[in-house]
């Protein structure tokens, strides 16, 4: 039963992480920007849900309100900073978003205080297999909402005009521009959509875990890893690698101990990168 519990815990956790990684993959693929402030946008989304909870509104409504607010926050960040670095090399964008990350941390600390907070959903618990497997409903709710948003986004990307423009820009920005796509608008919308996804994930995290102004970085690192493992533009891959990493983490925790949880995930990342390099070098030989 322990392995069933570990699997389910890992999958539920992984789906939530995959949603954050999904936004990162989208923005990385379209704009070639690695957003270090990704986790901070998540935490900001969490604070929106938390404040709704403080004012007596159920925090689950945060999954609707937070993305709307965060979309405009994303657009504002794009207009103020990102549009100045979008055509520069990757290193400049990392520096710029690192700066935004520090600014956001300090602003959140200033505005909301340094206390660790959470929003109680009171969703209760689901017991399975004769009470041997216990799943908090808040985690199930988080996974369900994450999947829902991911599916909506995939459909939106395929069917809508903006979605097609985003995909065209990701494939070849210059060609898209020549064919009449307003890439500036596409970039702004992409950053906004990413921030909105972070807003949803943040609201879910405030219901499932805890939030704190300085807690963003682990979410950035985790989503970065998921994207690295899945590869850019591979959205089903992001979902699979998110869940896979979640399950791997839980098992590493049970078998090796909690202290090796993060270390084992990084080890896995290194192994995957070495494997990929090995595969690529083989491919090069073949091309010769």
């Amino acid at each position: 039963m322990i392995s069933v519990q570990a699997c389910l815990d890992g999958i539920l956790l992984g789906i939530l992480f995959a949603l954050i990684a999904y936004g990162m993959a989208l923005q990385w693929g379209v704009m070639n920007i690695i957003n270090i402030a990704q986790g901070d946008l998540v935490i900001l989304g969490g604070y929106i849900a938390y404040f709704m909870y403080l004012y007596g509104i159920h925090p689950a409504w945060g999954v609707i309100v937070a993305p709307v607010i965060m979309y405009f926050v994303g657009i504002a960040i794009y207009k103020l900073v990102i549009n100045k670095v979008v055509d520069r090399d990757l290193f400049i964008s990392i520096l710029a978003t690192f700066g935004i990350s520090i600014l956001f941390m300090q602003l959140m600390n200033f505005a909301f205080g340094a206390d660790v907070v959470l929003a109680n959903s009171d969703y209760g618990t689901t017991m399975l297999f004769n009470n041997n497997v216990v799943l908090p409903n808040s985690k199930i709710f988080s996974a369900f909402i994450s999947i829902l948003f991911a599916i909506c986004l995939v459909i939106y990307m395929k069917k809508s005009k903006l979605g097609r423009a985003i995909r065209a820009t990701a494939q070849n920005a210059r060609a898209a521009k020549i064919l009449g796509v307003d890439t500036e608008k596409v970039y702004a919308a992409t950053f906004g959509i990413n921030a909105a996804l972070c807003g949803v994930a943040g609201a879910l995290i405030s219901i499932t875990f805890t939030i704190h102004p300085y807690m963003g970085l682990p979410y950035t690192i985790r989503s970065f890893m998921i994207v690295i493992v899945a590869g850019l533009g591979n959205l089903p891959g992001v979902a699979m690698s998110g869940m896979g990493l979640g399950v791997f983490e839980e098992f590493a925790d049970y078998i090796l101990g909690t202290e090796f949880r993060i270390g084992s995930v990084f080890l896995l990342l290194v192994l995957i990168l070495i494997y990929r390099r090995f595969k690529l070098s083989k491919k090069r030989e073949y091309l010769k």
Binding site: A6, N109, D115, N120, P213
Partner: protein, 412 residues
């Protein structure tokens, strides 16, 4: 003409610079004893940094209004120069250096947290500046042979060993099984060492010993192990994040343990954030308002609690109370030394043996307070869901009887 103006401006600038440096380059200016403190007013420790500052300020006002400090037949008043260390140990060390070598401060108050105290202590030690600190409990602070560091609080290794003793007592003196989950930071690991000592001393057995990563706020894996192993006691220490996460996941996963002991419950505002789910949690605390210690300045815990709440608009956490106690210790040491000589004040501090509203204070050679035990309170809620922290151990100060074992989730 223009050259004259430049020379005049240069000379006046020099005069201003010289006069200000002379004015500030003194430990005692007029009738003021100037203390220095680097406090986390921004950054991740800012909540507790503000509690620390409020505690210091409250004591400064109280001592100054009640006659000040009498040294050599003259009355002096306390004043504190504060700098914001941004919750950053490197910045804290720089600011300590600045307070001592630029501002001329010769007596220091501690910052918030063990990590920042560890950063500042080598600086104060180098300059021979006595520092009374109230918020650095890590055992490693007191094993380095520092001569000028004095802590009014009990060291971290004493935080939760009382809980193990209590569990053994409830088990008719027989050893118990203990599950431990501690964050990987200096403070929590010191708490862990104390629990390990208690386990050894009481013939108990450790069944889970998890080290929680700093960056993770999920302990579901540990709790599944707890459900499997069914220990007698679950001990958790991971600052406010650890306390909040533990209660959330224990209640969600319906983990039944006869005793749950943790740290940082009041800083995490457990009963406010989790309500009835936090019921029966045992929490280690340096101070509680119902303790019956007394002094001339704050009378007792209840009066301190009322006065602090009136002044700052919230009930004092123990971080504020211990910070106020640090000023009482300094006042007592200055008066006994009857001098501002750093060595004499240091010796007077080392010989401190007093009672404050916060507890008895007597320093061991390492600088830690050995005369003040930790207290354990238990979160108890009424039917309306209103929760309160009630002291249950040590029995001398208990205001309520320990509820043990904790009722299972199915019966709540």
């Amino acid at each position: 003409m223009r050259l004259n103006k430049i020379i005049l401006s240069f000379v006046s600038a020099l005069v201003i610079l010289f006069s200000t440096s002379v004015a500030s380059f003194a430990k005692v200016v007029g009738d003021k004893i100037i203390l220095g403190a680097a406090i986390s007013l921004t950054g991740k420790y800012s909540s507790n940094g503000v509690h620390t500052q409020n505690g210091y300020n409250m004591a400064v006002d109280r001592i100054n209004n009640m006659g000040g400090v009498k040294v050599g037949g003259k009355t002096y008043k306390f004043d504190i120069i504060y700098y914001d260390d941004e919750s950053n140990p490197k910045r804290a060390a720089q600011l300590a250096e600045r307070l001592i070598s630029q501002d001329g401060v010769e007596f220091m108050l501690g910052p918030y947290s063990s990590g920042l105290t560890k950063a500042i202590a080598p600086v104060t030690e180098k300059y021979g500046v006595p520092m009374v600190e109230a918020n650095g409990a890590s055992r490693s602070l007191f094993t380095k042979g520092y001569k000028y560091l004095f802590a009014v609080l009990a060291p971290a290794n004493l935080y939760l060993d009382v809980a193990i003793d209590l569990a053994v007592e409830k088990n008719n003196g027989k050893g118990v099984t203990v599950a431990m989950a501690f964050e990987q930071d200096a403070f929590s690991q010191d708490v862990r060492l104390g629990v390990l000592d208690a386990i050894k001393r009481t013939g108990s057995k450790k069944v889970i010993d998890d080290k929680l990563p700093k960056e993770l706020n999920d302990m579901a894996a540990t709790l599944v192990k707890v459900k499997q192993m069914k220990p007698d006691v679950l001990v958790v220490s991971g600052h406010t994040k650890g306390a909040l996460t533990a209660i959330r996941q224990i209640s969600e996963m319906k983990v039944d343990v006869p005793m749950l002991a943790m740290t940082h419950c009041d800083a995490a505002k457990l009963s406010k954030q989790h309500g009835k789910n936090s019921q029966y949690a045992l929490c280690a605390s340096q101070w509680h308002k119902t303790l019956t210690y007394k002094d001339d300045f704050f009378k007792d815990g209840m009066t301190y609690d009322a006065d602090f709440t009136k002044e700052f608009g919230y009930a004092p956490p123990y971080q504020a109370a211990e910070s106020s106690a640090a000023l009482l210790v300094f006042k007592d040491a200055f008066e006994r030394a009857n001098s501002f000589d750093q060595k004499k004040v240091r010796d007077a501090l080392a010989a401190t043996n007093m009672q404050t509203f916060y507890g008895n204070i007597k320093f061991a050679p390492g600088g830690q307070n050995v005369d003040k035990p930790m207290v354990l309170f238990q979160v108890m809620c009424d039917d309306a869901g209103k929760c309160e922290n009630k002291v249950v151990a040590p029995t001398k100060w208990a205001s309520a009887k320990l509820i043990h074992p904790i009722p299972s989730w199915s019966k709540r």
